[in-house]
C-alpha cells in the first residue's frame, strides 16, 4: 500500500468542544482507491472526524490534507474533489430522481450533455429508469440510499465520505449497496465509510476502530482478527469497547 498515492493524510488531529475532546490525537493515512472503514461506538467521535475531513467543521488543531488540499486554507478545492453522503438524507424529497441528479450534477459544473448521458448510465445501472420522474419521497429507503450514493459520486470525486450510509435497511439491500461501493473503488474512487455493522467492516480494505475519541486499532480485518485472536470483527470490536469501559 505504501507505494500508492495517499489521498487523505491526518496528523495529530484534535477537536475539542469546551472540556470535551471528541477527537483525541488522530493520525492516519488513506490510499487512493482504498475502502477505509471508520468504526466506533455511538459517540466515539466518528461523525466529528468525518465532518472535519469534509470541511463542514473546523478542527481544533492538527495537519489535515484531503485530496492533496489543506482543510484550513483550501477548503473550496477540497469540496470540489469529494463526495459526501450522510445518514440524514441528502436528496430532495420533493424533487424527482432525475431533478436531483441534474441539480447535483449542475452545481458541480457538469455540462447539460454530460448530465443527461451520465444520468442515463446511472439509472440503467441502478435499474431505476422507470422511476426517473418519480418523487424521491415515493421511493423505498434502499433505493434512496443507492441513489444518494450514486449522486454523491456523480461528479467523479477523488474521495467519497459515507457516514453510516446503510442504516435501517435489510442485509440483502446492504449487500447490494456494498456492490456499488466496490464498483466505485475499482473506478479509483477512495471510499471512507463509517458504520457500526461489523459484517460491513469485513468488506473494508482496512479499518480503524475509535474508542472515546482515540483510534485504538488500525489494520486490515484479517490482521486485526489475528492480533486479538478472535474469529470475527464483532469480537475485535467488543474486546476494544470492553477495554474502554475498563479505563473508565
Amino acid at each position: 500500500m505504501n507505494e500508492k498515492e495517499k489521498v487523505i493524510r491526518v496528523k495529530n488531529m484534535y477537536k475539542k468542544f469546551g472540556d470535551f475532546t471528541a477527537n483525541n490525537d488522530l493520525s492516519f493515512e488513506v490510499s487512493k482507491g482504498e475502502i477505509f472503514g471508520f468504526l466506533g461506538a455511538n459517540g466515539a467521535g466518528k461523525t466529528t472526524a468525518i465532518k472535519i475531513l469534509c470541511g463542514l467543521s473546523f478542527p481544533t488543531s492538527g495537519e489535515i490534507k484531503v485530496a492533496g488540499f489543506d482543510v484550513y486554507t483550501e477548503r473550496e478545492s477540497v469540496k470540489r474533489n469529494i463526495g459526501y453522503m450522510s445518514q440524514k438524507f441528502s436528496l430532495y424529497e420533493d424533487l424527482t430522481v432525475f431533478e436531483n441528479i441534474r441539480f447535483y450534477g449542475g452545481i458541480y459544473g457538469l455540462s447539460k450533455a454530460e448530465i443527461n448521458s451520465k444520468a442515463d448510465e446511472l439509472l440503467d445501472k441502478l435499474d431505476l429508469q422507470h422511476a426517473r420522474n418519480k418523487m424521491i419521497s415515493a421511493l423505498p429507503l434502499g433505493w434512496k440510499q443507492k441513489l444518494a450514493f450514486s449522486v454523491a459520486i456523480f461528479h467523479n470525486p477523488e474521495i467519497v465520505f459515507l457516514d453510516e450510509p446503510t442504516g435501517g435497511v435489510d442485509p440483502v439491500t446492504r449487500r447490494q449497496f456494498w456492490d456499488l461501493i466496490y464498483d466505485a473503488s475499482r473506478a479509483g474512487i477512495t471510499v471512507f465509510v463509517t458504520t457500526h455493522y461489523m459484517d460491513e467492516a469485513e468488506y473494508c480494505d482496512r479499518v480503524s476502530i475509535m474508542v472515546d475519541g482515540k483510534i485504538e486499532a488500525l489494520d486490515t480485518p484479517e490482521k486485526l482478527k489475528k492480533q486479538f485472536n478472535v474469529d470475527d470483527m464483532d469480537q475485535v470490536f467488543l474486546s476494544l469497547a470492553r477495554h474502554a469501559t475498563n479505563i473508565e
Binding site: L56, S57, S86, S90, D94, E99, R102, F103, G106, G109
Partner: protein, 372 residues
C-alpha cells in the same frame, strides 16, 4: 452563473410543487385585500343610540329626529331612565347614550346654556372618538339651525361671520379605501417576503439537505442569491396583482409612476428578504423562525402608521419608527399613488431603505455559516 441557474431551477421547482405554498402566493393576497379593504373600515355606520328624554319638548324631539335622519345613527330606544340606558350600554346592545334633562327645552327657549349629556362606550377608544365627533357634528348642525331663530336675524343669513372651510387634499372625499389600500399592499408584500424567506433556509436545515449543500463548492453568496431571487420575483408579482386589484377593483387613483413603486419595492424587498434570511440562519426549526418573524411583523406593522397615524405616537414610538422599514414603504406608496410624488420627493426614504437593505443582506451573508 451556471451554479446559480441550477440552484434557481431547484428553488422554483420546490416552491411551485409545495401544495400549501400556492394558495399563499395566489389566493391569500386577493382575499386579504378584499376582506381588509371592506371590513377594516374607519367609516362610521350604524351607531346605536339610546335616548333618555326627560324633557319631552319640541326641541328635544327635533334634535332626536336629526339623529334619526342621519345615516350614521339609529335611535334604538327612547326612555326616561338613565339606569336602564346604562344597563343596555353595559350589555353592549347600544353604543352611546344621549340624555336630555327636563330643562333642555326651556334653556333653548331662554337662550341660556342648553346641555345634552353624551355617554359613549369607550372600550374601543378610537371608535368612541368617532362617535363623539359624529354626535357633536349633529348637535352643531342643530345649533346653527336654532340660532338665527332667536337672534332675530333673517333666515338664511349666516349667523357666524367667520367660517372655516376645509378642503381635503389628495383624498378629497376623505374616503377610507384609498388611504388604507396602499398600506395593505405593503402588508401583503411584506408578509409573503418575510415569512417565505424566514422559513426557507431553516427548512433545508430541518430536512438535512443543507449539509449536502455545504460540502459542495457552492459559494455562500450563490446559495443566498438563489434563496432571494425567487421571493423577490414572487414579491413583485404580488405587488403587481395588488396594484391591479387596487386600480380596477377599487378604483384607487394611481397618480405616480408604477416604475418608481417597483424601484422602491426592489430596495424594500431586499431589506425584508435579507432580514428573513437572517432569521433563517439564526434558527434551527421552522417553528422558531415562524415565531420570530411573527414577532417582528406585529411590531413593525402596528407601529407602521397603517392603522394609527405615526404623528400621534409618543416621541419614543416615533423614534422607533425611524428603524421601521414598513413605515417608510407605506409612506412612500401612499405618496406615489395618492399624491403622484416623484423620485426626488421620496429620495430621503429611498436612501434610508437602501441602507436597511445593505445592512440586512450583509448580516445575512455574514451570519450564514457553511462551517461550524
Amino acid at each position: 452563473m451556471q451554479v446559480l441557474k441550477y440552484l434557481l431551477q431547484k428553488e422554483f421547482l420546490q416552491i411551485f410543487r409545495n401544495k400549501s405554498m400556492l394558495p399563499i402566493i395566489f389566493v391569500m393576497p386577493i382575499l386579504q385585500l378584499c376582506i381588509l379593504s371592506f371590513a377594516a373600515t374607519y367609516d362610521m355606520k350604524n351607531t346605536n343610540l339610546y335616548v333618555v328624554d326627560k324633557d319631552l319638548s319640541s326641541h328635544s324631539r327635533e334634535l332626536i329626529s336629526k339623529f334619526n335622519g342621519s345615516p350614521f345613527f339609529t335611535v334604538k330606544e327612547i326612555g326616561f331612565s338613565e339606569e336602564e340606558a346604562e344597563d343596555e350600554l353595559f350589555k353592549d346592545n347600544i353604543d352611546a347614550i344621549l340624555v336630555f334633562n327636563n330643562d333642555f327645552g326651556k334653556s333653548v327657549d331662554l337662550r341660556t346654556q342648553a346641555s345634552v349629556q353624551v355617554l359613549v362606550n369607550a372600550i374601543n377608544a378610537s371608535s368612541a372618538g368617532l362617535y363623539n365627533a359624529y354626535i357633536n357634528s349633529v348637535i352643531l348642525d342643530y345649533n346653527s339651525g336654532i340660532k338665527p331663530n332667536f337672534v332675530g336675524v333673517a333666515q338664511g343669513v349666516p349667523y357666524n361671520i367667520v367660517q372655516t372651510t376645509y378642503s381635503h387634499q389628495f383624498n378629497p372625499e376623505m374616503k377610507y379605501i384609498p388611504y388604507m389600500l396602499p398600506g395593505l399592499l405593503v402588508l401583503l408584500v411584506t408578509v409573503v417576503a418575510l415569512f417565505l424567506s424566514a422559513m426557507n433556509v431553516v427548512r433545508e436545515k430541518e430536512i438535512g439537505t443543507i449539509e449536502q449543500i455545504n460540502v459542495t463548492p457552492i459559494r455562500k453568496s450563490q446559495f443566498l442569491m438563489a434563496k432571494l431571487i425567487p421571493f423577490l420575483i414572487i414579491g413583485f408579482f404580488e405587488l403587481g396583482l395588488g396594484l391591479l386589484i387596487a386600480a380596477f377593483g377599487f378604483q384607487i387613483p394611481i397618480l405616480g409612476s408604477i416604475w418608481l413603486i417597483y424601484l422602491v419595492a426592489f430596495v424594500y424587498l431586499i431589506a425584508i428578504l435579507g432580514f428573513g434570511l437572517l432569521i433563517s440562519t439564526q434558527t434551527d426549526t421552522q417553528q422558531q423562525a415562524m415565531f420570530i418573524a411573527w414577532f417582528f411583523m406585529v411590531i413593525f406593522l402596528l407601529m407602521s402608521g397603517l392603522f394609527t397615524p405615526i404623528e400621534s405616537m409618543p416621541e419614543w414610538g416615533q423614534k422607533l419608527n425611524t428603524l421601521n422599514p414598513i413605515a417608510y414603504f407605506i409612506k412612500i406608496i401612499r405618496m406615489i399613488l395618492l399624491k403622484g410624488s416623484g423620485f426626488f420627493d421620496i429620495l430621503r426614504e429611498i436612501v434610508i431603505l437602501s441602507v436597511f437593505a445593505l445592512v440586512s443582506i450583509t448580516f445575512a451573508v455574514r451570519m450564514h455559516r457553511k462551517v461550524s
